[in-house]
């Protein structure tokens, strides 16, 4: 098993409070891994750090991926902005045409194809503010499809999404796995993780466990994770990192 991602003693902090604390783990390549843990456990922060968007990172992230695609939480997007479904999906080709190049015929063709693949054929000209939460999530998945990434990071892809949409989008994710892409998803539904994700990483600011889902999601681990997340010491002294590795 080769690793797509290797975290070495990773600490990410906001205003000196560590959101992710001394985490070392490996994420297998070409596999589906779920990141689980209570609210405030540092799951989204971990994804941000993988993208290089976290403010203060200590430790090291080794990533073999050539191209990374990222699905943000919907709250990070202004859904009232006047832009069409097609334009939103086409942004997935940013790495090819950037901020100034023109979209080619092939890009348009692929965009229509991706929109069809997520079940939104005919929605191309619709402004995104007329879509439901589920439909908008399908749009974002179409954009991910266009990004053609070998590492796909999903932050709570199924929050507030109905079961039909979850099933359709899970089919998209499984296809990524068949295409040997690495998928890392932050999820809250343990049943779904047990059913669909062979690997899991349980986080409660510190690493609780990482490995096969059946072992990681044991009731003992989950209890430990909850206890760890609730501990919050305002007066904790500075944590002396034994060796300071540059990120």
């Amino acid at each position: 098993m080769t690793a797509a991602l290797r975290l070495v003693d990773l600490t990410v902090s906001y205003d000196r409070h560590p959101a992710v604390h001394h985490v070392s783990a490996e994420i297998p390549a070409g596999e589906m891994t779920a990141i689980v843990g209570p609210n405030g456990a540092g799951k989204s922060t971990l994804l941000k750090a993988l993208l290089g968007l976290a403010p203060r990172v200590e430790g090291r992230i080794e990533c073999t991926a050539r191209r990374i695609a990222y699905l943000p939480q919907q709250a990070e997007i202004d859904r009232s902005f006047p832009i069409s479904v097609l334009d939103t999906v086409l942004l997935g080709r940013w790495s090819r045409f950037g901020g100034f190049g023109a979209a080619r015929h092939a890009d348009l063709h692929d965009a229509h194809h991706a929109i069809e693949a997520v079940g939104l054929a005919g929605f191309e000209r619709r402004p995104i503010d007329t879509l439901s939460v589920g439909q908008f999530q399908r749009v974002l998945f179409a954009r991910l499809l266009l990004q053609d990434a070998d590492l796909v990071l999903l932050d709570e892809p199924f929050a507030a999404i109905d079961s039909k949409t979850v099933a359709d989008l899970m089919a998209v994710i499984r296809r990524w796995r068949e295409e040997k892409r690495t998928v890392v998803a932050v999820l809250h539904d343990f049943d779904q993780v047990r059913r669909d994700f062979p690997h899991a990483l349980l986080l409660a600011r510190e690493l609780v466990d990482v490995g096969p889902t059946a072992r990681v999601l044991s009731s003992e681990n989950l209890l430990r994770a909850r206890a760890m997340a609730e501990a919050w010491d305002e007066h904790a002294g500075a944590c002396e990192v034994p060796m300071r590795l540059s990120a």
């Binding site: 993208l51 990070e76 997007i77 202004d78 006047p82 832009i83 940013w94 901020g99 503010d129």
Partner: protein, 289 residues
């Protein structure tokens, strides 16, 4: 009759013709800036920015008297400095950017009025605060038209990154693009338009012709480019009608023009095709499926 009231003022008087051309240029460039300002939820911050031109213009006034280049340059420098400073304050403290803008522009206004009072008269102060579109000379005209050209070319160039920075900044960051660069490029263009507008409309009103048509257009169109296309003619119409009314009525031009822009805003609010009062009150009609 129509000729006498509508055409003759422009045919007979050079200052009216220059004012008309200046307002056309302001309308075309400014309304596109206005659309982005409201989409970035920065309408009030834009207002603060416009006020912050005052101390710079006042410094220019102190050094060069009522000279357009000196006051424009001073205004531009002060506006960009305010934008950068509030951005820096917001980034390095937990203060929100709107709060730091408010702090910056209150300081700037007080400073500006004080500087003008050091040397100028009340008339000078009125001119700077409320503008004198009928005093637009060739130099001012060239400034306004160059600004409009630069604005349209600049916005076209940074259009895509700017749009993405507005609605999904995280995506831009994940693509390795520095969104703040486009944010500040846009703010510089906005300041440039306010500088161009303040000769005509004054620092207090400069934003009227930029923002009001843009807000009005949001009741008619729902894409960035179509909003700009709706906003520009509305801006120009308010400027043209405002000029005529102020000419015949002997009224100050800036406030009249801005009031006509408000009139378009009210019309759009009442009768626009989307999210307007009419759309709200009309008998609900729904489609079959």
């Amino acid at each position: 009759m129509v000729y006498e009231y509508v055409i003759a003022p422009f045919a007979d008087f050079g200052f009216m013709r220059r004012a008309l051309v200046a307002s056309l240029a302001l309308s075309v460039g400014g309304s596109a800036i206005g659309v982005f300002l409201i989409l970035r939820r920065m309408s009030l911050m834009g207002d603060a920015l416009a006020h912050s031109l005052l101390p710079g213009a006042a410094m220019g006034f102190l050094i060069g008297g009522l000279s357009l280049p000196a006051m424009s340059l001073g205004g531009f420098v002060a506006g960009v400095a305010t934008a950068l400073l509030s951005g820096v304050i917001a980034r390095f403290s937990s203060m929100r950017e709107d709060a730091s803008f408010a702090a910056a522009y209150l300081t700037a206004m007080a400073l500006g009025v004080l500087i003008i009072s050091l040397r100028g008269s009340a008339v000078d102060l009125m001119n700077i605060l409320f503008g004198a579109i009928l005093a637009v000379d060739d130099g001012a005209l060239i400034l306004v038209v160059s600004t409009a050209t630069l604005t349209l070319v600049g916005l076209a160039a940074i259009y895509r990154p700017l749009v993405v920075e507005c609605f999904n900044p995280g995506f831009l960051a994940a693509m390795g693009v520095r969104g703040s660069l486009y944010h500040y490029l846009f703010l510089s263009l906005a300041v440039l338009n306010m500088v161009a507008g303040f000769q005509a409309l004054g620092t207090l009103m400069a934003l009227g012709l930029i923002l009001l048509p843009a807000v009005a257009s949001s009741f008619w169109a729902r894409e960035v480019w179509s909003m700009s296309l709706v906003a520009a003619p509305m801006a120009f119409a308010s400027a043209a009608v405002g000029l005529l009314v102020s000419f015949h009525g002997g009224l100050p031009s800036g406030p009249v023009i801005v009031l006509f822009a408000s009139f378009f805003f009210l019309l759009s609010l009442l009768f626009g095709t989307r999210a307007s009062v009419r759309a709200r009150l009309s008998r609900p009609v729904h489609l079959r499926g």
